[in-house]
Structure formats: structure tokens, C-alpha cells
Symmetry: C2
Subunit: 289 residues, 2 copies
């Protein structure tokens, strides 16, 4: 009964608990570019086939994260179109295609963050959950004239990494446990989160706890904004986007008879709770036609 | 700059993080009964005055917990009425008065739990937050034909103690972190919580996170029940019940410039989110006149 063979890139994707979906997708593509460049094979067609098979395997590793799927599928499509008459040239072009996609994604994140920053404006208190590189980019644009309320986001507690980043850019930050979300929304001017996936109907699939923030934001009449690059859109209904489960050992017990620790990593926030969806393409307000 | 002198009973009340409000109030009264019995003073009037002064100091130590206030005030009132002609007799009677109040409170908790158990009935899945002795008593009455979903409730994580209790009575229990509340309400038949205080208008002051459970329960169309002994009623508006803050060190950091860890222990759940208030006196349904 041997373990199924797992490619190092599959392991990287599967085990990561610190990066948001966009960052992780780009990290994966970066590693793929290096792998492609250093592929020792000599037959271009066989070589490309191997890369694409791997890319399509990686695509399905984090099903709650649309950018992983979308970026890898785009890369497969672009690599399909490349000239395969020379192995060296194919390697260089395929790696280039991956790096182009990374740059396009980074630019999209920057533009989306810029839009969020202009929409929110200076001097506000923003409450967020989990660690989103897009939300962090928005904070960078507003720093230091903005205040943050940041949750621990447990497990694994990536809110601590966000607090560290905000500390470094001198943003006054309140750090709270997740159970305090319903106390602190009333002290914020708006809620801002990233997304791992945004489904067809606008449902936001993001780190578990995001839905609680949206519910509390609505109850306290502050706007709830979602900021993400367009790659996070998935043309599927929300119910078809699986909510990833991870190892319950991350909770640190309890180990007791009859008791089952659960570790569902994502939740679904209904579009009715979203005030605006902010992407590099623009802002869609709730109620817009 | 000496520390202000703190009575051991004040310290007990102030530092406790494991007991619900009723249990803690009874524990305090039990200690008070022993202290009274062993008071070496000889003048009954002076002795009683000392006890009452201490009781009134203790009353204000946990302002988010109505039973602490109510039980201590009742004991002061009952001790006022006692015959002070003999020191021995006063000691015995005052201790007896404390133990009578404890017994009355325990009986009220049992009756409230019984009502909740009949209302919910067998074979259901109940989601709860924090550790309430009243909710635990309800689970005991339904065991083992009931399922539980229990949150960690961090800090300090008293949901782990609840999971242990439920494990011992063979109740199938899902243990989740607080951020997963919005995933798991949809898998429960009802939400049931205790209360530290129930304000004049029915607002529930309970462990932080309770409001999130109530919001998610409403969004997922499951009833949200609050079960508590009548002693938890406080004839004050909800906004006048302070939300206790505790030592942020309980969060385990982060210690960073510009970052302030916050540890607000309670939140307020609006009466609009409550389906029924269950006490030893009966069940009040939302919308009842």
C-alpha cells in the first residue's frame, strides 16, 4: 500500500496555509516556469505534453481557489499555441508565457487594490478577515492614514502575518480573535476582504469566517467590500465550488471519544451581503443592473 | 506604589475564565458561606457589616455577569433580615442563607434546562458557543440521542471543556474553530446558548461570538434559543451592561509596534435575533405579547 506519488508542486499547493489564492497561483506558475526551463528532455512535443499534464493535475489541487485553476488553464492554452520545432525555444517561450501571466495577475491585483483604496478613501477604519494580498495592497496605498481591525483567522492564524505587515507600514491595528468580530464591526467604517473564488452569481468563497464578518457588517450597517482580480471569477454556481477541508490536527485537538474536530477552510458569503465587488475592471455595486 | 489589596474572593471572581456566570456566582456564594462560618469576630453587628461590605464589593467585580450581582444582592438582603443577637447564630444563619440561594439557583438551572430539552426534543443537532452549565444540563437530559456542534470559543477556549463533558456522556460532537460558525449553522437543527446577562429588552449578553452564531442561525433559518435562570435578568438597558475586557496576553500576542491585541469577552445579541428565551418560569417566544 504505497503512497500515491505526489509531485513537489502538488505538495507545495496542497500544504500551503499562508498565501491567498492569487499569490499561491502565481507562486505555482513561477515554480512551473523554472521546472520548464530546466527540463532535460529533448523531444519538444513529449516535453510539452508532460508539462501540460502536470499543470492540469495542479489545477485541481485547491478546488476552492479559482485563480489556481484559471491561471494554470490559461498557461496550458498559451503553451498549446507555442512553436514546438525547437526544444530550447519551447522551453524559453513556455517559461516566458508563465511569467507574463504572473505579471498580468500582479498588475490586476494592483489595479483592483488601487480602486478599493480610492473608493474607501483616507482616514477610515477597515475591518478585514484572513490575509489577502489584494487587501494588503490596498492598505499599502492608504498607509499610514488608515486604521485596521484584523482577526486572528484560526486555523492557522494568518491574521498574525497580516498584523506584522501592517505594523511594518505603521498602520494602527487592532488585533482580535475571530469570536470578537461581532463586537468590532460597529467600530469600523467598512469591511474589506479578498476572495479565493467569486462564483457566477457573485457569491464569495473565502476563508471561513468571511461570512460572519459580512453578516455582522450588514447588522451594523457598514459596507462590505470584496476586492479581487478578475481571475478569481469562476463560471460555476456557488454550490458547485467545494469548500476545502484540511487536516483537523491543525486545531490542536481535542482528541476525545465521540468528538470529531472539523477543519473546513472556506465559507460562502451570499451576494445579498456584498455592497460592492471591486476588480481591476471596475466596481460593481449591489443593485447595479 | 503598592498594589491595592485584593480579597481572595475578588481574585477568584476576577481571574476565572472557565465557569459560566451562574456557576461562578454560586461558587462565590459557597466561598462566602465558608468565610462567614469561620469568621472569628465576636460582635455580630460588626461582623455582618464586614460580610456585607465584602459582598457588595464582589457584586461589582464581573459587571457583564448578572447572576453575580443578583445573587450577592439577594444574600445581602437576606442577611439583613437575620437575628443578630448571637454571633454563633448569625454565622450559621448567614451561611445557611447563602446555601439556600445556591440550591434555589441550581434548581432554576435544572428547570430551565428541562424546558429547553422538552422544547428541542430528541434526535436533533444543536450548535452552541462557549460553555454554559445550563446548556450542558440540557445536553445531559437529551443524551445520548442528540448531536452537538461546539466551538472552541477562543480565548480561552472553554469549548474544549464542553467537548470533554459531552464526550463523557457519549454525545456525537463536531468541534470547530470560531471562524467555522458560518459553515456549521446550516448543519444544525437549532442553536442553543446560555447567557451571562439578559437585559431589560431581551438583549443577550454572552461570550463574544454568540452574536455571530445568532446572525448565522438567522441567515440559515434555524431557531436561536437562549436558556438561563431568571437570576440572569438585569433590569437595565443592554447598552448599560458593560462588555468586560480581559488581559490581551490571553491571545498570545502579537507584540508589534502599532498593533494592539484586544480581548473583549462578551458581545450583545439583539432581541430580534432570538427565537425564544427559556427560563425556569417558562418559554417566551419572539413576538409574544
Amino acid at each position: 500500500l504505497s503512497e500515491p506519488t505526489r509531485h513537489p508542486l502538488e505538495a507545495l499547493l496542497l500544504d500551503d496555509r499562508q498565501h491567498g489564492a492569487s499569490e499561491l497561483a502565481r507562486l505555482c506558475l513561477k515554480e512551473l516556469a523554472e521546472l520548464v526551463e530546466n527540463d532535460p528532455a529533448s523531444d519538444p512535443a513529449v516535453m510539452r505534453d508532460g508539462w501540460q499534464t502536470l499543470a492540469l493535475r495542479l489545477r485541481d489541487v485547491r478546488p476552492s481557489m479559482a485563480p489556481v485553476r484559471n491561471l494554470l488553464e490559461r498557461w496550458v492554452a498559451r503553451s498549446d499555441a507555442l512553436d514546438a520545432s525547437s526544444a530550447d525555444r519551447l522551453r524559453a517561450q513556455a517559461a516566458r508565457a508563465a511569467r507574463d501571466l504572473i505579471a498580468e495577475s500582479e498588475e490586476a491585483v494592483g489595479t483592483a487594490a488601487e480602486r478599493a483604496a480610492s473608493l474607501i478613501g483616507p482616514g477610515r477604519t477597515i475591518i478585514t478577515h484572513s490575509l489577502s494580498s489584494t487587501v494588503l495592497a490596498c492598505f499599502r496605498r492608504l498607509a499610514p492614514d488608515v486604521r485596521a481591525i484584523v482577526t486572528e483567522s484560526r486555523p492557522p492564524g494568518e491574521g498574525r502575518a497580516l498584523a506584522r505587515e501592517l505594523s511594518e507600514i505603521a498602520i494602527a491595528t487592532d488585533f482580535i480573535t475571530d469570536q470578537q468580530l461581532g463586537v468590532f464591526t460597529a467600530r469600523a467604517d467598512c469591511a474589506l476582504v479578498g476572495a479565493d473564488t467569486v462564483a457566477f452569481d457573485g457569491t464569495v468563497i473565502n476563508k471561513a469566517g468571511t461570512r460572519l464578518l459580512a453578516l455582522a457588517a450588514r447588522a451594523d450597517a457598514i459596507p462590505f467590500y470584496v476586492c479581487f482580480e478578475g481571475l478569481k471569477r469562476l463560471d460555476r454556481p456557488a454550490a458547485e465550488v467545494p469548500l476545502e477541508r484540511h487536516n483537523p490536527a491543525e486545531l490542536g485537538g481535542p482528541e476525545l471519544p465521540h468528538v470529531t474536530p472539523r477543519n473546513v477552510y472556506f465559507d460562502r458569503t451570499a451576494p445579498e451581503l456584498v455592497s460592492a465587488w471591486i476588480t481591476e475592471k471596475g466596481v460593481v455595486w449591489a443593485g447595479d443592473p
